[in-house]
């Protein structure tokens, strides 16, 4: 009513002050030491209730904003996403085949210092993963050294025998990585997943920033935020640096998509567009003279680097799933002969397998000689009888995931699950224990979102995007912040109703 004055109280009233006890369903437990503080860390308001320093400048701007204007901007952002067609497809839901991922206009802010540490930790991890992949498909020193069990590899579907002895161009396996991080306190970061196959979400990182720049240009004059817009250029360069021996001249890059009905199709076309690369499907390609060639209006033209967004299994009907229509018959043979670079390399899934995940600290140490900078979430491997017994006894406290699952499908969040869900899951777990791992329910940090009633804290995670070439490891300052939109919910996956935020890394 009375302009600014009313507005200030609006935010003071609704603003989340941190230090709240965890919602009641998080029973206190003595499972792991990290849960000793049963409080949720709010990244904006910290634990003491004062605005944390990375948010100082933003808070100054925010306190001068009219909440009604913010809400208008929020609807404008949604309209913008819809018009631009920034959508994702949901499998198995006819009526809502294309959905928007909700976008929240309150940014998630990371200080330069925090970022520097994350960057070092991610780079270390990614280098170790590449060394591991090379080793595991060659001499398997790490197994010989007894650091990881042989069965873990031998009996793993993600291990591709077709890759044994194959050295990809530049020895890069994971050209693109999206490391999932969560935070539980001021200095507590954990890697949740390494996503070394085909991580998605980078288009949202870029479009979220575009949207924020479009809606709040003045904000970016006030707060010095590092740019993310070079990502497509860096991706193009990084892929080009991995060109295969057969490439003569400027590397031709193409993006391989399963097609317009794939859940991440928008991203595939977006990246191809931004890189100036062709967006191809399996039926556009064939093997000609030992190269992969695409059918153009003027005949077939060879491709040097294929950024594929198709899973290993569907990549080559001759070498993998014979039913696949999404891949190219014979591409693996061309690949082995150095006729094409496939990014990410086939078989990288063995490194982000959830059972291997628990060994990453050993892997980092084995290949880099350093201890891991970023922590792993403690993990029970249900294949091990003792761990299984423990997990079965404590299901209501734990998060249980399928070893090969992704996207939040097929997982159990114990504290949020009903008795019936838990008992159903218990039978599944007993039937195939090797298919599952379990982790404690972390008190994920929160960042406020704008709701109808003002600001309210919601749990977040972070996926920075990493590019690996023979010359460098490049991490874009920022990433995709996913946010659970329901109060108290820990599931941030877009397929499960999560939203996204713009992620700011501050300049020094």
């Amino acid at each position: 009513m009375n302009g600014k004055k009313g507005f200030v109280s609006f935010f003071q009233y609704f603003i989340y002050r941190g230090n709240f006890a965890v919602a009641p369903q998080y029973k206190s437990s003595n499972l792991v030491s990290m849960q000793k503080t049963q409080t949720v860390f709010d990244e904006m308001n910290g634990e003491a209730g004062d605005v944390r320093y990375p948010y100082d400048e933003y808070q100054k701007w925010l306190s001068g904003e009219d909440p009604a204007r913010l809400r208008r901007k929020s609807s404008a952002a949604e309209a913008f996403f819809r018009r631009t067609g920034i959508t994702f497809n949901v499998y198995g839901r006819e009526e809502a085949a294309e959905r928007l991922i909700p976008f929240d206009i309150i940014p998630r802010v990371i200080s330069a210092r925090e970022w520097a540490r994350l960057e070092r930790g991610i780079e270390q991890r990614v280098r170790a993963i590449n060394a591991f992949l090379h080793d595991i498909y060659h001499r398997q020193e790490i197994i010989r050294a007894g650091r990881i069990p042989k069965e873990l590899i031998a009996n793993n579907d993600a291990f591709l025998p077709q890759m044994i002895g194959v050295s990809p161009p530049g020895n890069v396996y994971t050209h693109i990585v999206g490391t999932d991080l969560v935070r539980t306190g001021e200095d507590e970061f954990y890697v949740l997943e390494d996503n070394a196959r085909t991580p998605s979400g980078v288009s949202y990182m870029l479009e979220n920033r575009e949207t924020m720049l479009h809606m709040f240009p003045e904000l970016f004059a006030q707060v010095k935020v590092r740019s993310v817009s070079d990502y497509p250029k860096n991706l193009r360069r990084s892929l080009g640096e991995c060109a295969p021996p057969a490439c003569d001249g400027k590397p031709v890059v193409a993006v391989l998509t399963p097609g317009i009905h794939n859940s991440a199709y928008f991203e595939h076309s977006f990246l191809a567009d931004q890189m100036g690369a062709e967006l191809v499907e399996g039926h556009d390609l064939r093997v000609i003279d030992g190269r992969i060639a695409m059918r153009t209006t003027q005949g077939f033209a060879p491709i040097d680097v294929l950024y594929r967004r198709v899973d290993d299994e569907y990549l080559d009907p001759l070498n993998f799933n014979p039913e696949s229509q999404l891949g190219v018959a014979g591409i693996m043979d061309v690949y082995r002969a150095g006729g094409i670079t496939i990014a990410n390399a086939p078989g990288t899934g063995i490194a982000d397998d959830k059972a291997i995940y628990s060994y990453i600290p050993e892997i980092v140490e084995f290949y880099t000689g350093e201890s891991a900078i970023l922590k792993n979430v403690p993990t029970w491997r249900c294949a091990e009888p003792e761990a299984l017994a423990y997990v079965l006894d404590n299901l209501e406290e734990l998060v249980v995931k399928e070893v090969h699952g992704s996207g939040g499908y097929g997982m159990l969040v114990g504290p949020a699950a009903s008795k019936r869900e838990i008992s159903a899951f218990r039978s599944k777990l007993k039937a195939r224990p090797g298919n599952y791992i379990a982790q404690p329910t972390l008190a994920l940090s929160t960042v406020p979102i704008l709701t109808k009633k003002g600001l309210a804290p919601r749990h977040v995670d972070l996926r920075p995007f990493v590019l690996v070439s023979p010359r460098s490891v490049n991490i874009t300052p920022g990433g995709l912040t996913r946010v659970a939109l329901k109060a108290g919910s820990l599931v941030v996956n877009s397929s499960q109703g999560g939203g996204t935020k713009d992620t700011w890394v501050l300049e020094e």
């Binding site: 556009d284 059918r295 003027q298």
Partner: protein, 313 residues
Amino acid sequence: MLGKTAGGLFWMFRFLERSENTARMLDAGFRIALTRSSAAENEWASVVAAAGVTDAYTARYDQYIARNVIDFLLRDTNNSSSVWSVIEGARNNARMVRTALTREVWEATNECWITLKDLLAHPISERDLPEVLGTIRQQSALVRGALHGTMLRNDIFDFARLGTFLERADNTARILDVKYYVLLPSASFVGSSLDNVQWESILRSVSAQRAFRWLNPGEINPMSIAEFIILDQRLPRSLSFSYAKIVDNLGYLEADYGLRLDCHEMAAPILQRLKDSSIASIFDEGLHEFITTFIRDNMALGNQIEQDYRFIG
């Protein structure tokens, strides 16, 4: 450019053109049905025939009545040529070729889809029909405007234009095919008011009624209408105009790629035939035969382009 992308562009613009033309034909049919209820059933039947979907329609409905025809041509997903089907097809193609489109063209196409999705969510009453048809034409025009205003004049543009004009030539020819008898000098009701209404309707189907009146003040006769729609180089929906554009765009591709293909050999004589014909010679030869041959040639050219530029593997 990928062959698939060329095909996607070609079909995207064929579909958009078809949506617009279906809307025009419905509009013309609706007017006749309104003013002459005794002729309504015939009129609706010829609208369905001109849209090329008679078999599908009769498989579904027994009678040609307004409600069914309107629903079938605008909304029915079983009719692959209904406005909703082709708009969905156009947008799917646009998504597929998104890297070849400017942001403006993509957004106009997406807006068109969003708007029509809402508009066509429920059956359209006769009361709302004119407004709905207006919106369909307008949405298609917005995409065309974005195309003209923002796209490079390169092979991408050429394939888009080829799709537009092949479809347009086909649609105009089909309207004539269904209504040719009205234009024959031997028609029994020459000079009657029924003819006037029918002639008007044909002109309206190709948005040419005002242009015709402006060029031929005070006189309206079947032969000059036929001449206008088939041969007039100034009328953007005439067969001559469409073919001049098709040959132009194929010529740009030939120059661009340095390749003369079978489609070039096929297109040139079709245009030449239109150029060499007078309306009198067409009537001598037989209007119906002329149009039937044209539709067949046009379809064959479409297939040849598809093959020559490797739209499919």
